[in-house]
Subunit: 473 residues, 2 copies
């Protein structure tokens, strides 16, 4: 966990971030031909050729290579390029791919990798392993690193405590800019990359923060307390990562101090670790709303099955409700089979409209744009959009039905479509908002309820109006 | 566009980032009671009280306040707190809310705001205005700033050229660390915040980059060329913002150099501007897949209507295909009305399964995890998940149908469900992949096609098997 580069030469030469012309396509993805060449060299057992192929890649691309290869080949690749398996590769790997590989390595080998990582990456490396494997690896670490990682693992999953790195620069308040620069030049065990320096009191509580650009632009004699920003965003160590991601976005943070329950500085979070979470949290809503769970293509099949089948079974339940409504109108359908032909249209359009509104509401809730302060206004907005949509679609389907079947049936289906699209607009806002107020993630279960409401209302309004209008009499 | 703070005192005191206890709830959202208090003060025309209420807020929270207030009140608020309307507030505002407000302000007032912003924020401020308003504001700017903004506006929308800031630190290669620090202490018109220094050749082409932390930790006599990292991620000025966001994520960048077609350094991108895009791009897939367009709750109703109604009409088209299939089996339904009762279940389950697989595929394509190299493997993976899901759901619905209706109908619906869920798995991968290969955004239109396939196959498999099995004979 020390930064060996700076220790040795005081002059850092970080890993290459070159654009690799031959290996990457125009969208910066590894070319299939390159993957084929690696696969071939692995099949032939030609470790030298494998190494030569992989060596020019950026660590992030090596991580991609592992993910794109078949699971069986990943162990062979790791064996062929052991000394390229840097912390950067490990921390960029997909969780499932990483855990799969780590489980296949001996504990001592994992410990060697962990020692060279910063705290947050080392924690990520082992946090999902089962307790026995985790213990075996921890026992191989030197006592200081072990204590740091154990302390991070003591915080709940997906909190700031798990994500933060312990390595940071904290200095007392009486220093000048010059003192600080001298201190940094002399110290050997500082982090390689940092973006701000924290000024702390004698109890290690943050007093202020200095961005490096301010320090570099000030004369040496200026006191740090005159340069520092006193008000800063402090992240409590037990804050949920979703909340952390929102703070970083909202306040455009590059790094932030993490404090324990006594207000003491215990770590820092940097935006390069948070961007993954911002992207994950924003992207997971689409997966959750569809009922695909985590929806990671590297997830084991049994996990994907169990995440998805529960929503399909729930959907079966809601479809049965719709069927009961249809069954109640069995006699009407027997008399007029056109009802059976047209009824799925009403349900389908309502489902589509409900999904649209629900997606908008869920996103607005996730980004804190929809709050108690404007729920009524947004509901009213969605009802107006629904009415416009409803009238448009109802006119189209109503006219077509009037021409093909009968004018009365045209009026019936048009009315049912308007009713169902407006119901969809109402449900699309109300269901996610209610889940949110109950403290539930609105992305998870809203879909099942909204679909049940629009399906049922679709069949009920259409078949009910058909009977009431005397069409089936 | 100069940084006035540093110019005046050489000691920056940036805006407060305090957590405002009384105004924010536990999830960092403005409390409804606070919004009510502001609304009340506006209604009473008490500008002093409005100012006192808003003044302690962070700029990002002032932006939220505008968004949460009713559109009519926003102008009144802006008038009451003119000197709090900093660049930070403007750049944090939702696009629609900002454009609405900017259009209401006189050109000279907008120019005053634009002058104090960095290039990227100033461009964002006026890029969506109509050409006449844009011209009027540009004419009010001082010539130098006008030229810079006009040059940024000459790049296509949503490219690096629009997002980049021109303010950056570029120095020739012969400097030492000490020279650079002296240069930065002496220069008055440097950006306030920057994270790396670019080293350029005599044609202003980037040779390397130095993170500030490396500079601060090196003795003064070291040559910059010995500290700098030679290989860096260069962003072409016309690169699409989605691609830019992926690079920042993949390579964990804090800032990056933007180069023109001749390889000359023309600007820089910093991660605090990119996080919004990462979040937007990741979050928009859920909205696009649902057919809700941008899905911004601040979008004018007519825009929301036109974005959504086209997908509802497309959905009407696909629903008609399904209706035609049902109509072809009209005689069978007349003989056995149970078919009409049960057929929506088969279609609905297939639609749900298709949406799950599609959401997974679209996300994997968006994050470059699904490429030509592993498409066949992922397709095979999804088919196995589909088979497991299909057998589970088919068993449940098959048994229930066998008990309630007849064993033969149970076998028919179970077979149809398995066929439809497997079809859904195939379509859920194949449709987004095909759109992606044709250079289309797979999130946009996949949903309509997948639903059409699962609806049609659901009705066709169920009704077709019912007839073939002799159930309706």
């Amino acid at each position: 966990m020390a930064d060996t580069e700076l220790d040795e030469a005081k002059v850092p030469f970080p890993a290459s971030e070159a654009e690799e012309g031959e290996q990457l396509d125009e969208e910066n993805r590894l070319k299939p031909e390159f993957i084929d060449a690696v696969r071939e060299s692995l099949e032939e057992g030609d470790e030298g050729r494998t190494y030569d192929l992989v060596e020019p890649l950026h660590p992030a691309d090596i991580a991609d290579l592992f993910e794109l290869l078949e699971p069986d080949r990943r162990g062979e690749l790791a064996a062929a390029i052991t000394d390229l398996m840097s912390g950067e590769v490990i921390s960029e790997l997909n969780d499932y791919v990483r855990d799969h590989m780590i489980e296949a390595l001996p504990a001592a080998a994992v410990a060697v990798i962990a020692e060279q990582l910063e705290t947050d990456d080392a924690v990520q490396l082992i946090e999902d392993l089962d307790p026995k494997d985790q213990r075996a690896i921890l026992d191989e670490l030197d006592p200081e690193n072990r204590a740091v990682i154990e302390s991070a693992l003591s915080y709940p999953e997906e909190t700031a405590g798990r994500l933060m790195q312990r390595e940071l620069i904290a200095v007392p308040e009486h220093l000048t800019v010059g003192d600080l620069i001298d201190y940094m030049r002399e110290q050997d065990d500082l982090p390689t990359d940092f973006w701000e320096v924290f000024i702390v009191d004698h109890r290690h509580r943050p007093l202020g923060t200095c961005r490096l650009s301010w320090i570099l632009r000030c004369p040496r004699h200026i006191a740090l307390t005159d340069v520092m920003q006193r008000d800063q965003t402090l992240i409590p160590v037990i804050m949920d990562q979703e909340e952390v991601a929102l703070r970083f976005q909202k306040y455009a943070l590059i790094s932030a101090a993490v404090v324990d329950e006594n207000g003491r500085l215990v770590g820092q979070l940097t935006v390069d670790d948070i961007v993954h979470i911002i992207s994950e949290e924003a992207g997971e809503d689409a997966l959750l709303m569809s009922g695909a769970g985590e929806g990671d293509i590297n997830e084991p099949i049994r996990d994907a099955y169990s995440a998805r089948v529960r929503w399909l079974v729930a959907n079966l339940g809601t479809a049965l409700v719709a069927s009961l409504i249809i069954a109640a109108f069995g006699a009407a359908i027997e008399k007029l089979v056109a009802l059976a032909v047209l009824m799925p249209i009403v349900a389908s359009i309502g489902g589509n409209a409900g999904t649209q509104t629900m997606a908008v509401s869920v996103r607005a809730l996730a980004t804190n744009q929809l709050t108690r302060s404007n729920t009524r206004r947004i509901l009213w907005r969605e009802m107006r959009v629904a009415l416009l949509n409803g009238v448009t679609v109802a006119t189209l389907i109503g006219l077509a039905t009037a021409v093909i079947f009968s004018p009365l049936l045209g009026i019936v289906i048009a009315s049912a479509v308007i009713i169902n699209i407006c119901t969809a607009g109402l449900a699309g806002v109300a269901v996610p908002v209610l889940f949110d107020r109950m403290g539930q993630d609105p992305a998870v279960a809203s879909s099942v309820f909204v679909t049940m409401i629009t399906d049922s209302m679709g069949f009920f309004a259409f078949l009910g109006l058909a009977v009431a209008s005397g069409l089936t009499g």
